[in-house]
Amino acid sequence: MRIVIIGAGEVGFAVARNLSQDGHDIVLVEEDPERAAKAENELDVLVVRGNGARPGVLQKAGVEPGGSTEMLIACSSKDEVNILACWIARKMGVKSVISRAVGLEFTDTGAWSQDLGIDMMVSPERSVAREVEALLETQGAVHSSEIDAVAGIYAFKVAEDSHACGITLAQLRRMHPKLVTIIVYVQRDDHGFIPKAQDVLSPGDLIYSFCYLDQIHEIAEIFQPRRNIKLKRVIIVGAGKVGFQTAEILQKRVRGIDIRLIDHDHDKCRRIASELPKIMVLWGDGADEDLLIQEGIGTTEGFVSATESDEVNLMLAVLAKTLGAHKSIAVIRRKSYMKLAKHLPIDSIVNRNEALSSVIISAVRRQKQANTLAILDQIGAETLRVNIPEGSPAIGVELKDLPLPADSIIGLVRRGKKRNGIFIPTGTSSLLANDNAIIFAATDAVDEVLEVLGVPSA
């Protein structure tokens, strides 16, 4: 598929790289010569220089009547450019248009995207903020990504005092019959595997599990019994979009929470203080130890560093942890820094670029039958939701007999609309047509999984 992407900033770049690797033909429109040159050098894409909101530029990129462009993704950081680009693309007969929305009111409800004639408006900053919020709320979790409004995939480090240690997963499941959850991946030392029912967990393992959001605290209790404490105070450094949104979401979701937002830009502080009345905005340097101590870093449950600089964020998160913050999260952009997670005394590192682009990438892949729910770049895996089509060869076959690749697992199956129609399949379960299966698989095994399940891929 030929896809035109507007903007080669951090979001556009990551989206272009991922979709190009997926096999799409990508045309990237970028005005800034430096960014354009970077994309040309590093990506296998066509770069058109110019303003993506100008019809002439878009025409050069192949957005024209009767052109072969099937999709336009507007990823610039300006809403007016994105919306105008989408509008022009629509006029030119581009089949689907997706726009990043910086202004939050555009994605509060679906009304704006409908009115503007845009198939999908996504706010990547919001999803980063959601992830940070989920990590704060579930103190024991190391990673989190929401699958939909009710389910998510959470990673926990297995604590020394967890009762899950030393017993098989089958035994663990029998101990908690009410919990609808499945461990889909275990990372032990430097290697990872998809666990079977007879595998035994040991302290220090990083486990990824599917679970329902309303059961997340009970699950956290199993793996991190001591860390499972209530969130009362959060200190956020950096009042950019992610910091702002995290504060806003926390304020909405956690009752009576005390949020302190620190930024060094006084104007920004003033603006945010007037927009978020319940949040205490502090003007100062996030690395100012006295300020952090004054604001109670020693007893705070959560600390988030979300400034413009990755290095600062990592150092601040380490500093906060040293000063006594219960959970310290750094928001970064550079993928390579994710590797530091093991070596630094930080509880979680959130890659905002990944979250930013994964929302858009999954929106593109949603075109297929299979629907990517979350991309877990740090372990090279994804979560997909698959609708089993009529006539699939997998129907009626017991799962243990399905030739699924080794690095994949069917996590949950939803049969019918009801909540109690959800079950965790075992080796003797079999799928029916129109079942909704949530699958966890290594990124390079996804296509094979889809083939086995008889899902047509694009």
Partner: protein
């Protein structure tokens, strides 16, 4: 500074206020009372003055009006209008001296309601109607009235801001003229409603009209020495109380109510909420002290009188039903404080205004938070919006200027030999455009016995209160005159 522009504006204001004399003249002609001659003479003098101003200002362009011209125009307009208001008292010999007549004129246009006229019962009804009518015109403002009928382009906002009370002046409509027209429409509608209800209660047309004029303007002039108590009617008292409350509330709320066709803006407007809460709380406190002090035998009577006096004072009207001068000190203290607070911005009330007090209270309360969190950025919130720093500091500046002028008034009165209660309440009542105070200037007394020098001070305080101090004091600031004065 160009005198010609000022003169041209004054010509318009003088013409407008002179033409207002037509109302009492018509009344006098209809009823054949003795007020016709002085009123007609006043009209003639006013028209001649207007022509003189017009001659001086001939050829000047209103569009060239700058801050200096606007300030001079506003101050002189108020002084001239007050003089026209005073003419009938002087020509008819109803006042003891020209100074007394002028005092009454200023007291009328500034909606103060402090009176120096002796023997009210001996004054023709047409003159008494004029007396209440001056308050009605002064309530929404003669300049706003002029703006409503005369387009003045860019200078309009400056003129408007100098006359409408409040720390910030938001236009309700794209054009200042439309805003002025809207304010006057609401004002006239409220007056008509009160007139209707009073007539419904059996008051005659003259009583209804004078009472309605003085109520909506929160002025306080009454044709009778015993004010609202004269009518001896609970109905009249409550109708008056309701319209006093409305007259002292922020008129922009009415705009929101009308535009949105819902009463919700009343609950959302921070100043209106504060005004209402203050009224409810102080009224209750006053009623309870009155009951506890044994002034009224029943709690119901105490509540009724307490709340009436509270609304009369918070709206800076100065009406009374009973002589509150003899109330216990606790109740009188509350009354004195209410005089200082006053009503809302963009209303016909005076005083420091609720919005400024609210900003000051909020900002002061945030000071505690600032002590605990020295680096915290804490904007002063008003409902859904935030008061900009210069608005906050403007409120503090006004507050201190108000107290400063108040102090000068108190010192002046005491130097003229007044006792402490009289000096304090006299300054508060004139600066706040309330009217009656305590002691020698109590509700049933008159300012007529005050020495002439003190009357001049009070005239200054009344104008200060109506024009919100800074406008009136600006010409006293030397740099104001740094620009060459020319025609």
């Amino acid at each position: 500074m160009k005198i010609g522009i000022v003169a041209r504006f004054l010509a318009a204001v003088t013409l407008a206020s002179s033409l207002c004399l037509m109302l009492p003249i018509a009344w006098s002609a209809g009823s054949g009372d003795a007020g016709l001659a002085p009123l007609a003479l006043s009209l003639a003098s006013g028209l001649i003055t207007s022509l003189l101003f017009a001659a001086v200002g001939r050829g000047s362009l209103m569009s060239e009006m700058r801050t200096r011209e606007a300030v001079c125009a506003v101050i002189l307009a108020w002084m001239t209008a007050s003089a026209i208001g005073a003419l009938p008292y002087w020509f008819g010999n109803y006042a003891n001296s020209p100074l007394d007549a002028y005092f009454e004129g200023v007291s009328g246009f500034t909606t103060t309601g402090a009176t120096v006229l002796p023997r009210l019962y001996a004054i023709p009804r047409s003159i008494l109607l004029w007396r209440s009518f001056t308050q009605w015109m002064g309530g929404m403002g003669i300049i706003v009235l002029t703006l409503a009928v005369m387009p003045v382009s860019s200078a309009g906002m400056k003129l408007y801001a100098s006359e409408i009370p409040g720390p910030v002046h938001e236009k309700l409509t794209p054009r200042i003229q439309q805003t002025a027209v809207f304010l006057w429409k609401v004002y006239i509608a409220l007056t008509a409603m009160q007139l209707f209800f009073l007539k419904l209660g059996g008051l005659d047309f003259f009583d209804s009209l004078t009472l309605a004029f003085s109520t909506i303007a929160t002025g306080g002039f009454s044709p009778y020495r015993d004010s609202v108590g004269h009518f001896g009617s609970e109905y009249v008292k409550w109708v008056t109380a309701v319209f006093l409350f409305l007259g002292g509330a922020n008129f922009t709320v009415y705009h929101a109510v009308i535009v949105r066709r819902s009463l919700r803006p009343l609950g959302e407007h921070p100043e209106f909420r504060f005004y209402f809460s203050l009224f409810a709380a102080i009224g209750l406190l006053m009623s309870l002290t009155l009951y506890a002090g044994g002034v009224f035998a029943s709690l119901g009577e105490a509540l009724s009188q307490g709340y009436f006096q509270t609304v009369s004072m918070i709206s800076t009207c100065g009406f009374f039903v009973v002589d509150y001068g003899s109330w216990p000190a606790s109740a009188r203290c509350l009354i004195l404080l209410l005089m200082l607070v006053g009503g809302c911005a963009v209303s016909s009330a005076g005083g420091i205004t609720c919005i400024r007090l609210l900003v000051i209270i909020k900002h002061t309360r945030e000071e505690f938070l600032r002590l605990l969190h020295p680096r915290a950025v804490i904007p002063t919130r008003l409902g859904n919006s935030v008061a900009e720093p210069w608005v906050v500091s403007g409120c503090f500046a006004f507050f201190s200027a108000y107290l400063g002028i108040f102090a000068l008034g108190v010192i002046g009165a005491s130097l003229f030999g007044q006792d402490m209660i009289t000096a304090l309440s006299g300054a508060a009542a004139t600066l706040g455009n309330v009217g009656p105070g305590f002691g020698m200037v109590g509700p049933v007394d008159s300012y007529a016995v005050q020495p002439a020098g003190l009357k001049i001070i009070y005239i200054f305080l009344m104008l200060c209160g109506r024009l919100e101090i800074f406008t009136l004091l600006l010409p006293l600031y030397p740099r104001f005159w740094s620009e060459k004065v020319s025609l």
